[in-house]
Amino acid sequence: MSDTIVTHPLVIGEVGPGCKKVDPIVVADGVTRTFGGLKAVDVAHVEIPRGAITALIGPNGAGKTTFFNLLTGFDKPNTGEWSFEGHSLARVPAFKVARKGMIRTFQLTKSLGRLTVLQNMLLGATKQPGENIFTALIKPLWRTRETEITAKAEDLLARFKLDTKSEDYAASLSGGQRKLLEMARALMSDPVLVMLDEPMAGVNPALTQSLLGHIKELKSEGMSVLFVEHDMHMVRHISDWVIVMAEGKVVAEGPPETVMSDPAVIDAYLGAHHDTDLGDMMEDKNPVLEAQEAAATTAAQREGGH
């Protein structure tokens, strides 16, 4: 396998873990984070392409969310440098990262329960003179901006089909609606890079489809997207690029069609049955036999490669 050079339009040179991108939006170097004796993140080099939907996958405990937290300033690394659009962001506080146009969402949705849906949205907007404690006292100083962002918020709420809920407390929304609200709120600031931490976790299948649509829309509006996800079908469906992490390291990279068949990925993460529905498997196949066969095949492939 390794004697054929694989290339891709997003990449300069050969595709592989840590490969150079044509137009990277985030470049990270030597980022490490240890928790006690555990090296949760140990990324030597990774670049995230601009204008594309990039998926960050990996088994539980691979360090995906920690890496997310580091990039967005919610956690401090032990070592490492990274830049966003050419500006170094290492050790920059989270709110400044967000102001630079790198907006994230959370795995466990953080809608602000006792604020209305509309207030949640307005909170996402930037450059509000009324957020200064002194100008806040004089309404004429912030009324214009307030009207602007309210109109924008209403547009976005309509797009995410939350417009009928705008006066309700966010705590009264369903789990899926909260995910939608969080994404809509992130868009209030016109971000350059949207970082979604497990956008599909806990969302029912009916809403999944519309969430997928919204993520694709972000790309068509010129934003770059980086998301952490476990659902392989979703990853395959919408991502342009997939970065695979295991034990804190980037172990593979590539377009979704090929990265899934990378033996390193299969070994590290997916297992032999990533493509089989568990139900089907139980009905008409012997899983143990199958697993042994798959392991043998992988081993043979590897030997062939060397």
Binding site: F74, A98, G113, R114, I133, W142
Partner: protein, 326 residues
């Protein structure tokens, strides 16, 4: 029992300067807790800082009234920074621990014998009210009616105290309807979410802490205007009285803390006078007058518990807003 006398004194409490001072301090913790979600269990400390920063320079350096007020505000700002810088980056509980401890530290410092020359030690300070009385615009005479009959000086201290309460309420109203208030309320709900939207959470928490602290300090000034300043007044009981008032009225409301303070002051006087009256009249025989003073605090503790269990939103609070368990 002289019911007329009992109700008269209770009604008088409604507009007393102490009630105004309580109301100011309660507005202060409504900014802290009700809006910004900061657990300040040391509001008595802010009141003490305000009171002493007002009284000490007035006595030592003959500060005029306005300079004394400015000194109280400046001292409370410094006190808020001292508390906030180490704790506001941590979880909410830490601020609670630090505030309750530092309020006690303030009380012990001002009552220590080593500082008697400056703070008056455990006996406190008096004789600083001249500057304030000299500013009295009301000519001598009797004002008002019924339980609210005042001399010119009594009227002046009430007008002054309640004017500050009204100004504070307007300030809080203006801030909380603004985008600033929205950010602060967002922080109460989830500070990481607000941080992820590009707001300087630490800065906003500090602003809220300073604002509420300054209001507490002004409460401290109003509290001492008609009397002497005494360190024993600033114990933790004072802080929990103010919390009771806040929860009684409704934490995240503009009028809640004011009405809460009024109701609390009236109930406190009423329960005391009724108990004492009943003892004097021989209706209650199993406790003494001194014990009655303690019993009413037990009653207040019970009221606070019942309030938090059965009506957590207070009198003015929005039921819907608090009915979610988030």
């Amino acid at each position: 029992m002289d019911w007329g006398q009992i109700f008269n004194s209770a009604a008088g409490e409604l507009l007393s300067p102490v009630t105004a001072a309580y109301a100011l301090a309660a507005i202060g913790i409504s900014v802290h807790f009700g809006y910004a979600g900061l657990l300040n269990f040391g509001q008595a400390g802010f009141m003490a800082v305000g009171a002493y920063a007002f009284v000490v320079p007035t006595l030592l350096f003959d500060f005029p009234m306005w300079a004394g007020m400015l000194s109280a505000i400046a001292a409370s700002v410094i006190f808020a920074f001292l508390l906030g810088i180490p704790t506001l980056r941590l979880r909410a509980d830490y601020l609670a621990i630090v505030t309750i401890a530092s309020a006690e530290i303030v009380r012990y410092i001002v009552s220590t014998t080593g500082l008697t020359d400056i703070t008056g030690g455990a006996a406190g300070l008096s004789g600083f009210n001249g500057g304030f009385t000299a500013l009295n615009p009301f000519p001598p005479g009797s004002y008002g009616f019924g339980p609210w009959t005042y001399t010119a000086n009594q009227l002046w201290v009430r007008v002054f105290g309640w004017s500050i309460v009204i100004l504070a309420a307007i300030l809080v109203y203006l801030l909380m309807r603004s985008p600033w208030g929205r950010v602060v309320k967002g922080i109460r709900e989830d500070e990481d979410a607000v941080r992820s939207l590009g707001k300087n959470v630490y800065g906003y928490k500090m602003q809220a802490l300073v604002l509420g602290g300054v209001l507490g300090a002004l409460g401290g000034v109003v509290y001492v205007l008609p009397r002497a300043v005494q360190p024993s007044n600033y114990g933790t009981t004072l802080t929990f009285f103010i919390w009771t008032m806040l929860l009684l009225g409704g934490a995240a409301t503009v009028f809640g803390p004011i009405i809460g303070a009024m109701i609390f002051a009236v109930l406190l006087t009423l329960s005391d006078s009724i108990l004492r009256g009943a003892i004097d009249a021989g209706i209650i025989t199993f406790i003494s007058g001194t014990q009655a003073g303690q019993v009413r605090f037990m009653i207040i503790g019970l009221v606070l518990m019942l309030l938090v269990i059965f009506r957590p939103q207070g009198i003015f609070g929005n039921k819907k807003e608090l009915s979610f368990n988030v």
